[in-house]
């Protein structure tokens, strides 16, 4: 049986990710560490698209507004997981980064001694949500530790 004292969980507050969170918390023993990776997809960098009419101040206000929105959403997400981890006496290490989810997860998994990576299963195509998916094939080829893909609740 492999040790699961250091679990890397990648989640972004969707149904599948919440199922992954539950599983990660259940697998992590008290005293273990739950590394929580939250990736802000890099498509946000191009989200001003072809806006050329606004002045710099309006663009700045928009940029700051989006940043604050994302931060608020992440803060609530982290607070919720932090509480759940504390209840189970699990050390909780949140880590936020900007980029492509798959690349960020591979990079993060390499950095510290992770025993297991947990993610939720991809969202069905018909289900609404941001189009920023994990490339599971790339992930399985690149990871040197076990990967657990938790199915979405029915």
């Amino acid at each position: 049986m492999f040790k699961t004292r250091h679990i890397l969980l990648a989640s972004h507050d969707t149904d599948g990710a919440r199922a992954a969170e539950k599983t990660a918390l259940a697998l992590c023993p008290p005293g273990g560490t739950l590394h929580h990776l939250i990736v802000v997809p890099d498509f946000w960098k191009g989200m001003q698209g072809d806006d050329w009419l606004n002045n710099a101040s309006t663009r700045d206000i928009f940029g700051r507004y989006v940043e604050n929105q994302l931060e608020d959403e992440i803060r609530l997400h982290v607070q919720r997981l932090q509480k759940l981890a504390a209840k189970r006496r699990i050390r909780y290490r949140p880590d936020m980064t900007l980029g492509k989810p798959t690349d960020c997860l591979i990079e993060r998994a390499k950095r510290t001694g992770i025993d297991l990576v947990v993610i939720g299963s991809p969202r069905p195509r018909s289900k609404a949500g941001l189009r920023s998916r994990m490339d599971t094939e790339k992930l399985t080829r690149a990871l040197r530790v076990p990967l657990l893909i938790v199915p979405r609740p029915k």
Partner: protein, 528 residues
């Protein structure tokens, strides 16, 4: 922070540009120029090649050899690499790909049965935007070019400002009235339709607010301006912008194809594109795609665009008040702040250039469509270096044709104008010209008779040198701006299109495009 990147690319691009300009001036590119029929661009190939290439060589050397210091100068110089990157792509597209595509289109016509390049409007504007999109999505914009690519916005704004030099008071007044009516109806209609549909489909007010601004006013720009005001969630912003970009790009390609299929003229197409396309940049792209070798369509489309942009602060204010009422939030709406903050300052530049142009600084006052009236002998009769006389006065046989047909004209004032034309062999005044154009447009005379009237009109209208220069500059500013804007359209953001915004966006976008087409075809005529 030091913005300048140590890169050899600016220097390399400069050397390429200078070398190309030299090869053109030395005649080494003659076979290619002949093959592609780009001789008319040879002058600008040399001038622009030397100018931009020279600047790129100097800045490129500085970037490689000097040690940049923190400050404004460092930032401004750091933009040169990106600027040259866009210009190099524009050169390749305009002088190479565009004529080559034209050639391929012609060659493939016998096999395909149609000219694909013409049908798909694969001209330098469309291909420039596509090149930009390919660069950002396939190759990524190099770090050293990123500051310069952002300058493309400035290019488009400068292009619009310079457009102010090309309108006459009559044109601006007529187009202005038309655009206020059409844009007013369709902007307010689209915003209202989105809010109504949103309420029926139970989408949050914040999403309805940001989506209605984007679909109703001017695409991504309006969504960016409205999102903080209606407190849109991040996913709502992503959905909305994705939907708008997807629609904008599709429409930019579809509109010119439909416009040509329906045999629309510059005024009709400009009015339709300016009203029916969501994104302002795509309006410019579609107008230039429809008429790449002239800017009459762009002129009309931009008046509609500017009118729409002027609606932006009003709509944002409306949405802010609407949102506060609906959500009962603590958000305070400051009228002055919203209107001033969202007011497009560059429109003032357009008005200033128009005002300057009206004083006769660039061309004699009362110029029409960039041309001015002058029927003096000095303008109509010229002698070339070899002593050969070129006259634009009517010939005796042309006068005879008119004499034979003048009986068809019923209105006395038009008859009198034709009589003066026949007597003097030239149009005698602007009023006469207006009357004669009325006869030609009404097609009262035969084909030959109409051709003579049109020739008489063309003979007394002259393009001022400065106006010609502005036309070229405007075309280049828009080309630069659109290639650069293409580099800011990422597939990752377009991919976010989906959910309710896509459904509502499709319904409202299609309604707006089709509705505008019907109204334009019914009420907008090719003469103003």
């Amino acid at each position: 922070m030091i913005y300048t990147k140590k890169t050899p690319w600016t220097l390399i691009m400069g050397v390429i540009m200078v070398a190309y300009a030299y090869m053109v001036s030395a005649g080494m590119m003659e076979p290619l120029i002949k093959l592609l029929h780009t001789g008319k661009h040879a002058g600008e190939m040399v001038t622009l090649g030397y100018w931009f290439g020279g600047i790129a060589v100097v800045v490129g050397l500085w970037q490689l050899l000097a040690t940049p210091k923190q400050g404004q100068a460092d930032y401004y110089i750091s933009t040169i690499g990106g600027l040259m990157f866009i210009m190099l792509i524009a050169f390749v597209v305009k002088w190479g790909l565009d004529p080559m595509m034209g050639l391929w289109g012609k060659n493939a016509e016998p096999a395909l049965g149609f000219n694909f390049a013409k049908m798909l409007n694969l001209n330098y504007v469309v291909m420039g935007i596509i090149a930009g999109i390919i660069v950002v999505n396939v190759f990524k914009i190099p770090e050293w070019a990123q500051n310069g690519v952002r300058l493309s916005r400035l290019g488009l704004k400068t292009g619009v400002i310079l457009l102010g030099t090309l309108y006459s008071l009559a044109e601006l007044a007529q187009l202005g009235k038309l655009s206020v009516v059409l844009i007013g109806f369709f902007v307010l209609g689209s915003v209202g339709l989105v809010l109504w549909m949103g309420a029926r489909r139970n989408i949050p007010n914040s999403m309805g607010g940001v989506l209605s601004a984007g679909l109703g006013v001017c695409g991504v720009s309006a969504a960016v301006a409205a999102a903080p005001v209606v407190q849109a969630k991040s996913t709502e912003i992503a959905y909305t912008i994705g939907t708008i970009l997807l629609w904008g790009i599709l429409m930019m390609f579809i509109f010119p194809i439909v416009g040509k299929a329906m045999d629309m003229g510059p005024i009709q197409f400009g009015a339709w594109a300016g009203t029916g396309i969501l994104n302002s940049a795509q309006v410019a792209g579609a107008a230039l795609a429809f008429q790449p070798d002239g800017i009459e369509t762009l002129k009309v489309a931009e008046i509609f665009n500017i009118t729409r942009v002027l609606f932006l602060p009003i709509i944002v204010l409306w949405l802010a008040v609407w949102y506060v009422k609906r959500e009962q939030t603590d958000l305070k709406v400051n009228l002055g702040e919203v209107v001033l903050g969202k007011f497009p300052v560059f429109v003032l530049g357009f008005i200033l250039m128009f005002a300057l142009s009206s004083t006769g600084v660039f061309a004699p006052a009362q110029h029409y469509k960039g041309k001015f009236f002058d029927n003096s002998e000095a303008k109509l009769v010229k002698t070339d270096k070899e002593g050969k006389v070129h006259s634009k006065l009517l010939k005796d046989e042309e006068v005879a044709t008119l004499q034979a047909e003048v009986g068809k004209v019923q209105r006395e004032d038009q008859k009198a104008a034709i009589a003066r034309l026949m007597e003097n062999k030239k149009t005698m005044s602007i009023d006469d010209d207006t009357l004669l154009r009325g006869v030609a447009n009404a097609k009262i005379l035969s084909k030959d008779g109409n051709a003579i009237l049109k020739k008489a009109h063309g003979a007394v209208y002259h393009t001022a040198g400065k106006i010609k220069m502005f036309r070229n500059l405007i075309a280049w500013f828009f080309t630069f701006g659109l290639v650069g804007l293409g580099m800011q359209i990422t597939m990752a953001s377009i991919k976010q299109a989906g959910g309710q915004p896509l459904i509502i966006g499709t319904v409202v976008g299609a309604t707006k495009a089709i509705g505008a087409l019907i109204v334009v075809m019914m009420f907008v005529h090719e003469t103003i």
